[in-house]
């Protein structure tokens, strides 16, 4: 079976062969393990990003102050290339972090100096969309509702948490979904940092060694398919989550019935 393309790459039919080999799925460097890592890292990063961005976005949207600064910052951050930032942090941070141990099952020993830059870069990627969608969602709420909340005697904090944020959930969740997809996709770039796991490991390593039967080009493509599948599954899961946490009152289409 030598239907290889003339460009020196193994043909795409090799991907199927690779996927069918159970040895490629098991083990600490197999497809399943990497998939697990990919999901773990995404979950942690998004959780951290939400913890930072949602309260900040709620404060900005509720008070109306700082929207210009937040928008400008978010835009500026988008212009910074992810790879460049990662590399910068690796060169600057990694030599100074001398934690040799790892976290069993999650980070291999010696990995922390490289994980920190990756974590930071992905956080910088995930926070702006969640931040902008949170404050935009809150500002899009009917001003009468916000007026009535304060006018009833709610404190600003109470109104923000009990009324404004729940009403803004659809928009906030769309920002979280967008951020999650970005993180899943960019974890592949983060794998440029040594020892960082996830499906991106196959891609970056595969590029160094294209014709390797185990970690070469077919593995890369297979990982790519895995990521695409993960994206679809995650988006679906987040949409289901959104339905769970939104109040039924937000989901209804207003129906005008005669009084």
């Amino acid at each position: 079976m030598t239907e290889d393309a003339g460009n020196g790459l193994p043909g795409l039919h090799r991907v199927q062969i690779w996927l069918n080999d159970p040895g490629n799925w098991s083990g600490s460097e197999g497809m399943l393990a990497r998939l697990g890592e990919h999901i773990e890292y995404t979950a942690v990063i998004i959780a951290l990003a939400v913890l930072v961005a949602v309260p900040l976005g709620t404060a900005i949207g509720s008070t109306g102050r700082g929207t210009v600064a937040a928008a400008a910052a978010a835009n500026a951050l988008r212009a910074v290339p992810t790879l460049g930032l990662l590399v910068l942090l690796i060169v600057v941070v990694s030599p100074r972090v001398s934690i040799g141990a790892g976290i069993p099952g999650i980070i291999p020993s010696g990995g922390i100096p490289y994980f920190l830059p990756a974590l930071l870069v992905l956080l910088i990627l995930a926070v702006p969309p969640i931040l902008t969608s949170t404050y935009a969602g809150i500002q899009a709420i009917d001003p009468a509702v916000r007026d009535a909340a304060r006018g009833s005697g709610m404190t600003a904090l109470h109104a923000a948490i009990r009324i404004e944020l729940p009403c803004a959930i659809p928009v906030v969740m769309s920002g979280i979904r967008s951020a999650t997809l970005q993180v899943i996709a960019n974890l592949t770039v983060a794998a440029y940092a040594p020892l960082v796991g996830g499906l991106g490991r196959f891609i970056v390593d595969g590029d160094q060694n294209l014709s390797d039967p185990r970690f070469g080009y077919p593995a890369m493509i297979a990982a790519g398919l895995g990521i695409a599948a993960l994206v679809v599954a995650t988006d679906g899961a987040l949409k289901a989550l959104q339905r769970q946490i939104s109040s039924p009152g937000i989901r209804i289409r207003p129906s005008k019935r005669p009084s």
């Binding site: 009535a148 909340a149 709610m154 404190t155």
Partner: protein, 377 residues
Amino acid sequence: MIQFDAVTKRYPDGSVAVHEFTLEVPTGQITVFVGPSGCGKTTTLRMVNRMTEPTSGRVLIDGRDLTAIKATRLRRGIGYVIQNAGLFPNRTIVDNVATVPRLLGQPRRAARRHALDLLSQVGLSAELGARYPAQLSGGQQQRVGVARALAADPPVLLMDEPFSAVDPVVREQLQNELLRLQHDLGKTIIFVTHDIDEAIKLGDHVAVMRTGGTLAQFAAPADLLTRPADSFVAAFVGRDRGYRALGFARADSLAVIDEQPVRLGDPMTTARDRQRDGWVLVVDTDRTPVGWLSPAGHRLDDTIAAAHLNLGGTLARRGESLREALDAALSSPSGRGVVVDEGGRLAGTVTAAQVLDGVKARAADGLARSARQGGRG
């Protein structure tokens, strides 16, 4: 009693929304702030619950300066109803109404039960309680807004154009229900509107404001119609002032003329015998007027049926205003306005000439009264 003491609101860009506004809002009555757009009526209202703070001057409730009371505590003691209701979309109707009692610490179950009671007080069925605002019509939402404002039984109610966003039929119903509620509850209400007719209908006292935020006149509605303070107020109050002022004149002393009616189903010959000036009034079995009949256009061997009737005239209630009586006379095809009693049954008729005589008599009485008072002083 709410006092505005030379209150001014000036914005950083120099524009003045309210200028040296001084007024005393009496306790237990409806005071309406009315005026064109930009007259500062809403801004002034929002100073009472400190949603807006005056640039200078003070607002006092029962002698206490508002700035001495913590804003959130103040607002939990004041009901606030706004245009488009501002119901919280993520909460059920019951939870919306129970908002302030919950803020004050009432346990959830008790608050919800109380909320359901309030819903029936504003004319909504209890089953709406479990629904969400998006499922209610505009009129229903507005009623919920009123219920929410009343939930903690505040002594003061602030209403900012609450009925402006609903259609005229619903608006009239809501206005009547507000008057009924006020009759039962006796709250101190400040009501903002741009509609002078609404102001006249609802207000015990009306404050007319000018663009630029100054007070033009503060008076009872009848005085506004009969003695506007200046040309602005006169123009704002509008045309038909004299006619509308009749709405405040009681028709107690107006005598009704006896009227001999016929009944549905009577033969046309009876109608011809009892007619006066070509018209006879037709009633049904319990003497409720149903319409006027002109026998001339019909065959004598016919019986009187609903299809023969002219439904043109309005009905005036006995003892109500001269305006109702005049309108009944003017709109009646026979020139005789139908007057009914509390049960809706025929009491008699009046003519336009009689009403106008009544108006003249009132004017003479009024002059005599003010001459006596002038003499005494």
